[in-house]
Amino acid sequence: MVPLVHIIYICLFAMGALFIWMTQAFPRPLSADDIGPAMFPIWLAIVMMTLIVVDTVISWGRAKKVPLGDVGLAFLFALGMGSAVWASSRFGLFYVLPVALYTGLWVIGSRRLVVNGIFSLAMSVVLWALFDQLLSIPLSRL
């Protein structure tokens, strides 16, 4: 069981610090009335980091604890999804999509050989017809 909120807060705090550090390279304002490109993100990052510290103190003990296993499967699934997108950009969406859909259904728990196959093929054909052909969105370039 992990207090997920605190892990998220640590990541956001680090991001705020990184953004402040990166603004050092930003140019100065063009006029005396403008605050320039750096100031707005700096203010936001400082307020966010301050609120994270304050909230961690005042909300201590309220963070929901989440079992890692619950998060793990979905997380791995999302990584698999990213890999499928990468593969389709290399080999073509309509070669990868039916295989990815079939595998995805199997992993989530649908163990119907024929139904999964029909669904995967039908979904691929519908996407090709609707988006690629009818709406002229070049899905084959995905």
Partner: protein, 506 residues
């Protein structure tokens, strides 16, 4: 003026392709609404991509149809299996499901569709009479007022997030920080792009919305352990049984629900889910039979349904009058409209009034189409309730990938959607909400640009935000909104100390 506008709007709506767009939007909305895990917001985010190639009016008509129907269709799931299809139908379960268990399924579905349509049309009338004068008033607004309004919109939504006391504000600021990525609009300097050309225009917001709403929802469904194989009560193809007597019986509750929905919808962040409960409670308070509520009360069901659909149109009041979305779905609609070259706000009433009135009328027509689907063939939509979870998940994820890609035909956008989808999923598992981030992403550019424009034009520095009375009032409300969670935190800690002190004395 309103009559002229309505005539011009009707001329646009009368085109067959536009009516077909609304009809298809309603059908897709019905499908999304009955499917547990999908709602109007994620549905709208997913459909945006499919509307790129369509003419602007057809696209907006389809999205409004989807929004209207998805909010209603959640009640079909609530009544037939006792699980709300969308958060906006949570109170509907209390009386709708007991009615279907008692063999009054057809009657429950008839009340649900009738009350929803009455609430929806009442909300649209409220939209017309609120948005038009507010937009006229907002024509006097300058950059400082828009900066303050944008900030207030984000602050209100952030203050309503439960969980940690300040998490809503932290996530909203994170969203604002994301919008600073890309070219600075005043100096042209690329900020936080890490040399990646795909980030020059900033984080693409439609893929971001798809990730935060749809992908995170699908991932949540994967990690969910609940069994959805509940018993489904199946209605007949023609299940409508609304007579004059029944209509009179539910009249008062429907009116109360409609008024509550119309008012709460117009208030930023209140939303359909809150209206569903408040409308239900108010109807019970004014009912002659309050003891029947929760046990299959026809009045209770009517109030719950008219109130959530009453919010659908009135939620567009802040969007159309000020260009500031008051809810997550309105934020997605704003994104979609901007992609089609339409910027909602007071100037739209001057530059393209016909389009504004077309939006009003499209909402009415969507309700009428919805009535048709509610009367004939509810049995078809009920079948979707029984779809196995893996097929729902894979459909959402596939449409999400296609939707994210379609905006710029760029694979990078798909990775953005997946990344924010994972982040949104982690937030949901941690008990937090993605809505403040979404609103901040949509409003971020408006807030920074108007803040800096206000400063440059004023020559009086920060005083410009205090000198102008409207800006000062809006900013004062924003500060109060920000302080509210801190006061809540102080109260909870004080109560905790008192309890532990009392326990120690014992």
């Amino acid at each position: 003026m309103i009559i002229d506008g309505l005539m011009a709007g009707a001329e646009i709506l009368a085109q067959p392709t536009i009516l077909l767009g609304v009809l298809i939007g309603v059908m897709i909305g019905m499908s999304f609404g009955v499917t547990p895990g999908l709602d109007a917001t994620s549905g709208t985010a997913l459909l945006v991509s499919a509307t790129f190639a369509l003419p602007m009016e057809v696209a907006i008509g389809a999205l409004l149809g989807l929004y209207t129907a998805a909010t209603y269709a959640g009640s079909i799931t609530a009544i037939t299996i006792g699980v709300p299809g969308t958060p906006a139908s949570a109170a509907t379960v209390l009386d709708g499901f007991p009615m279907s268990k008692a063999g009054k399924l057809d009657r429950a579905l008839s009340i649900s569709i009738t009350a929803s349509v009455i609430g929806g049309i009442f909300g649209t009338v409220a939209l017309v009479f609120l948005a038009v004068p507010l937009a006229e008033f907002a024509l006097n607004f300058g950059a400082p007022e828009y900066f303050a309004l944008g900030l207030l919109g984000v602050a209100i939504i952030a203050s309503l997030v439960h969980g940690m006391f300040l998490s809503g504000f932290i996530l909203a600021i994170f969203g604002l920080l994301i919008t600073t990525i890309g070219i600075d609009p005043f100096t042209g300097y690329p900020r936080f792009t890490f040399g990646n050309m795909n980030l020059i225009e900033g984080v693409p917001y439609i893929p971001a919305l798809v990730g935060l709403f749809a992908i995170s929802e699908a991932l949540s469904l994967i990690s969910e352990k609940t069994d959805r194989n509940a018993t489904v009560h199946k209605p007949k193809f023609f299940a409508y049984s609304m007579g004059w007597g029944l209509l009179r019986k539910i009249g008062r509750a429907t009116a109360i629900g409609s008024i509550v929905g119309a008012i709460l919808g117009a208030i930023p962040a209140a939303g359909a889910a809150a209206a569903n409960w408040i409308g239900y409670n108010e109807a019970r308070r004014f009912s002659r039979h309050p003891d029947e509520f929760g046990k299959g009360s026809e009045e209770g069901l009517a109030a719950a349904e008219s109130s959530n659909n009453g919010t659908v149109s009135s939620a567009l009041v802040p969007l159309l009058a000020f260009g500031i979305p008051g809810s997550a779905t309105a934020a997605v609609l704003l994104g979609a409209m901007m992609l089609h070259g339409v910027t909602p706000g007071p100037s739209l009433f001057v530059e393209n009034p016909a389009l504004v009135y077309f939006i009003f009328l499209a909402l009415v027509i969507a309700n009428i189409f919805m009535l048709g689907f509610g009367i004939f063939g509810v049995s078809f939509w009920v079948r979707l309730v029984q779809l196995p979870k893996p097929f729902i998940v894979m459909t959402i994820l596939t449409l999400s990938v296609v939707g994210a890609f379609s905006v710029r035909n760029n694979v990078f956008d798909v990775y953005v959607a997946i990344g924010l989808g994972i982040f949104g999923f982690l937030l949901r598992r941690a008990g937090l909400s993605v809505v403040p981030i979404v609103l901040a992403i949509v409003l971020g550019a408006l807030i920074e640009e108007n803040f800096r424009r206000g400063l440059i034009a004023s020559n009086s520095g920060m005083w410009v935000f205090v000198e102008r009375p409207i800006t000062a009032v809006i900013l004062a409300i924003t500060v109060v909104t920000f302080l509210a969670p801190l006061v809540r935190a102080a109260r909870v800690q004080l109560a905790g100390r008192r309890t532990s002190k009392a326990a120690g004395q014992r």
